[in-house]
């Protein structure tokens, strides 16, 4: 159905992808977030791992050892507070990254070539750096306190980690904004220009309102990815859920049989938090794909 005679003549395999009439409205602005997507079956798999490993631990437990259930019950409040800390870091990093990234993205489409140049290279630099490297840079380069108008403001590790995670978020948001603006037909700019709108009016009244719904799904996808990346903060010593899990395992005397159930429980929490976001993203993508 997709082959034309010209395509077949030029290509022995009989199909040239570029000639297919495939509508990919998201191609320009979704590229920053990759093909990652959460599926419900992942959650079932994680839940199964959690239940099976808990049962195995329970069955094997010696008489002298506390049962798996009492261990889980005992440590869940602590671990869950750690998990909430991860959520806090993710929300703050997302907020900072979105505000700065939006400004950077608007810089990338500025009529001023210097601003555009800076916006482009800053975005590319942070978008193409490993998240963990950026995190280490922030941990090591930012001071533990700084002076603000005579007051000494402390900068704890978790805040440094938040900044470190906000950097790649910023770069990805910048690309989402640039991509969404560029995905609008140029006729929108021309119509606004011919009605004597200034560039600022055109951007804020015509272009950006149309971009919001195009940006929302990749932005939510980015947030889900960021949430899962917050556990990187454990590597740089922030007391979030992964660090606490390691400490709980140590406190329980390094019992190997606790390892799988505990980590599976953490996985399950992340899944339960991120999966609704992923589902909602898919729903929004479908909805807006029809409208645009």
């Amino acid at each position: 159905m997709s082959t034309r005679s010209g395509a077949e003549a030029g290509n022995p395999s009989g199909s040239l992808a570029v000639l297919h009439n495939v509508k990919r409205p998201d191609a320009a602005w979704n590229e920053g977030c990759g093909p990652f997507r959460l599926h419900g079956r992942y959650g079932l798999f994680i839940a199964a791992v959690f239940l099976v490993s808990s049962a195995a631990t329970w069955a094997q437990a010696g008489a002298a050892q506390p049962s798996i259930f009492s261990v889980l019950v005992k440590w869940t409040p602590l671990l869950f507070s750690g998990f909430l800390f991860n959520i806090l870091i993710s929300v703050m990093a997302m907020a900072i990254g979105t505000v700065v990234g939006a400004a950077l993205g608007l810089g990338q489409i500025s009529p001023n070539p210097m601003v555009r140049w800076v916006g482009y290279y800053v975005t590319q630099f942070f978008r193409n750096s490993p998240w963990l490297v950026l995190l280490f840079f922030c941990m090591l380069l930012l001071p533990f306190q700084f002076n603000l108008g005579g007051y000494t403001v402390p900068l704890p590790d978790w805040m440094k980690a938040t900044f470190g995670l906000a950097l790649p978020v910023m770069a990805n948001v910048s690309e989402i904004v640039r991509g969404a603006v560029n995905s609008l037909p140029s006729g929108q700019w021309e119509a606004a220009e011919s009605l004597a709108f200034t560039r600022r009016q055109t951007l804020w009244r015509i272009i950006l309102p149309q971009c919001i719904k195009r940006m929302l799904p990749p932005w939510m996808n980015l947030y889900a990815i960021l949430t899962m990346a917050t556990v990187l903060a454990s590597i740089v010593g922030v007391s979030e859920v992964m660090t606490l899990t390691g400490e709980v395992l140590a406190a329980e005397g390094g019992r190997g049989d606790l390892l799988v159930p505990l980590y599976a429980m953490i996985l399950l929490w992340f899944f339960l938090y991120c999966y609704p976001i992923a589902r909602w993203t898919v729903v929004l993508e479908r909805k807006y794909a029809v409208n645009t």
């Binding site: 006729g187 011919s194 009605l195 004597a196 709108f197 149309q210």
Partner: protein
């Protein structure tokens, strides 16, 4: 030198424009008097659209002069916004703002650009909706309107700025044959009211009916021009003859 209505409203002299190595306009000149209706016809790629897009500075020009009510468009510090308040433009693809209703599309520019009072703007906008025969569609979004309806909203949107000149860039080219007529009727109404109009069109019958003067462009120059009565019957240039024989 101040412009007076007895001088040409638009005066185009020896305009050249290139896109990269491609010279699209190779010395175009014509004048449009107040109240005149001008049609520009010609084969695709002959520079028709570029020519009228230069009049409101959507394209800048490389050489030559375009005077709009005595104001030089090809000036280094042109006030584009002032120019565009005088020159309305309607596009082939309508280019309505899809996140705004028909009425909001029409009201936006007078509110934001001319800073007129909301009550006046709304009154004017509703009158324009009536004028383009779209009563009842005030609260429809562009996506809910047919192509012909969208194009009439686009015309009303331009008229809301009270322009002195209207530019129409192949405004019926993207429409179904059935809806072409409703848009042409709207343009005819405007022309009858004395609006100065410059149209790029492929509708020969319409051009013949509405135009005071017809220009035929080919490969970046005006090959031939004249009033419709003589243009269609007494064309002299072989290129014009060939084009007309294919179209008519």
């Amino acid at each position: 030198m101040t412009w007076t209505p007895d001088q040409p409203m638009v005066s185009i002299k020896n305009v050249h424009k290139s896109f990269g190595d491609l010279e699209v306009l190779k010395g175009i000149s014509f004048d449009v008097m107040k109240g005149e209706v001008i049609c520009i016809i010609g084969p695709s790629g002959s520079g028709k659209s570029t020519a009228i897009r230069c009049i409101n500075a959507l394209n800048d020009i490389d050489q030559g002069s375009i005077l709009v009510e005595g104001q030089e468009v090809n000036a280094p510090h042109l006030d584009k916004l002032e120019l565009r308040k005088k020159v309305g433009m309607v596009f082939q693809q309508y280019n309505l703002f899809p996140h705004k209703t028909a009425l909001e599309n029409i009201m936006m520019a007078p509110l934001l650009v001319l800073k007129e009072s909301p009550a006046d703007v709304e009154k004017h906008a509703r009158a324009l909706i009536k004028k383009v025969r779209l009563e009842g569609k005030e609260d429809s979004y562009p996506g809910e309107l047919s192509g012909g309806q969208q194009q009439r909203v686009a015309i009303a949107r331009s008229l809301a700025m009270d322009p002195d000149i209207m530019l129409f860039d192949e405004v019926t080219a993207a429409l179904d044959p059935e809806t072409v007529k409703e848009v042409l009727v709207t343009i005819k109404d405007l022309a009858d009211e004395g609006m100065t109009c410059i149209l790029v069109t492929h509708e020969m019958g319409f051009a013949r009916e509405i135009a005071d003067h017809i220009y035929f462009t080919d490969r970046g120059v005006i090959v031939e021009h004249g009033p419709p009565a003589t243009f269609f019957t007494e064309a002299k240039d072989p290129r014009t003859k060939e084009f007309l024989s294919q179209i008519l």
